[in-house]
Amino acid sequence: MKRWLIALLMLLLGRGQKPRQLPPPDRVLDAEPPRSPGSELLVVVLLLGAAAAAIVFVVVYALSANTQLLGLSMGGALVLLAAVFYVVAKRLVPQSESDEPYPQLIHQPEQEEVARTFDESASRLTRKRLLVVAAGTAGTALAVAVVTPLASLGPILDTNRLYRSPWRRGRRLVDASGKPLKASEVIERSIFSAFPEGADPKDLAAPIVLVRVDEGELDLPEGRESWAPDGIVAYSKVCTHAACAVSLYRAPLNEPTAPKPALICPCHFSTFDPAKGASVLFGPAGRPLPQLPLEVDGDGYLVAGGDFSGPVGPSWWGVRKR
């Protein structure tokens, strides 16, 4: 602690002092390098253009996410940046040729000479601070643009809305055209997609898949015994790995000579067992598809018996907490 305080004191005292002025050493380079304020201005303009393009990228991402415009703005920013490098390299950095092999710089004076050459060549700039500010602006804007797509990864703090679902007890199941589904219409060895009646079908938790499983094979997790009337099971159609639509159903015609029934996601082949609460048989999915309890109403229509067994869609931090 004491040592830290002393170090801080020294730092504060040292800040007030002017750096000792050394007499200017003799120049190493023969002549003052030619200055080119025009090129510097060009660099500043290009840097600000790159910054503007990066800002356009962020704005387009926030407003419309039109991929053509996104590509154009980001590509424009990078091209302008490349132009900056080109102009700096060609017009602002002094060019000097040296012969190979480079001399071995063992001695102190030689090393100093090289360092001075470096310093002197930088002095060609007339508006160094303006250039630094412009470069900083462009760099910051580009960094923000690159980081912007992270916003699409999902909510950071408010994960409550990931639990929202349009399914309520008694809500009827309808097909893609809005027609209610009867339990008797769900044939064996077939796959049905369904949505909650009267809700937005584009809601993440809306789409489900329905298959009819042999009631003798059914082995659902505890507490779900009444969730599958006549062996009809319903699961969220959104894969728990990367949110693709679980649209494949492996439904063997002759089970002893073919792989057993499975619901499969076409993106990365996560494979779920429909008879066992969609437990994962294979693939990258980390948890089963959430199951929707089903009931059959008085007219024979399929209705939801409540909400899903778990949160719908790809997993996130804390997904298993509830």
Binding site: A89, I187, R189, S190, A251, A258, A262
Partner: protein, 228 residues
């Protein structure tokens, strides 16, 4: 030759119907797995009662049956039987009950509606282009070689591990549309030259990357100087 003809003549006279001929062919070629009574043999072949003419015609006309090993996945090959023999076998299996061969008219369907149906029900396994793909442990075959009737049969029968689709999901009119879309995938309108496997913008993207890479090398060459 004369004797063979005589035998054939006798056989024709004795045969009361195509179904009876089909049964004879069945006993020779199919009964070892499906059983003498076509009730199936556990662990080898399924019961064919209720399979119907649709399934028999699909499996035999695509060469998927007979199968060398009962645990193999049936895949398309040259048919083992002639069209006449297939018709006899189909008549026999059809006489055991089950769906008839569907009557399909792709020219009456709407390609646009067919595309929607295909993307909803088929594309997951067979790819939007009909090129086929994989399902865990099995192959989803390309459907470009299938005739309109065979596609309709597959939809109704659900061969091997494919789900089958009833009229509640795809009615007969929709089946016409679906098949008209499949017909389109066989010879799509490839604007601009190479079809590149019809797999979407992936190959074009590859070409773009290669061109961009070459352009970057050129730019580097122009702005850089070789040390002399």
């Amino acid at each position: 030759m004369l004797r063979a003809s005589l035998v054939l003549l006798v056989a024709l006279v004795l045969a009361p119907s195509a179904a009876a001929d089909g049964r004879q062919l069945y006993l020779e070629g199919c009964a070892s797995c499906h059983g003498l009574d076509a009730r199936g043999i556990e662990g080898r072949g399924p019961d064919l009662h209720g399979a119907g003419a649709a399934a028999a015609d699909f499996y035999l006309s695509t060469g998927r049956m007979p199968l060398a090993e009962p645990t193999d996945q049936p895949l398309r090959s040259d048919p083992e039987y002639s069209r006449g023999e297939i018709d006899q076998l189909v008549a026999y299996i059809g006489s055991l009950g089950g769906p008839p061969i569907p009557d399909v008219h792709p020219e009456q369907g709407s390609v646009r509606h067919g595309l929607e149906l295909f993307s909803e029900n088929c594309a997951g396994c067979h790819h939007m282009t009909g090129a086929g793909g994989i399902v865990t442990n099995v192959v989803a075959p390309s459907i470009w070689d299938a005739t309109p009737t065979q596609i309709a049969e597959a939809v109704r029968v659900g061969p091997y591990v494919m789900p089958h689709f009833g009229p509640r999901q795809i009615d007969d009119a929709e089946l016409n549309s679906l098949v008209s879309y499949v017909e389109l995938t066989k010879s799509p309108d490839d604007r601009g030259g190479w079809a590149l496997g019809h797999v979407g913008p992936v190959p074009e993207g590859m070409v773009a990357w290669l061109l961009a890479g070459a352009a970057l090398v050129l730019v580097a060459r122009v702005i850089g100087n070789r040390a002399r």
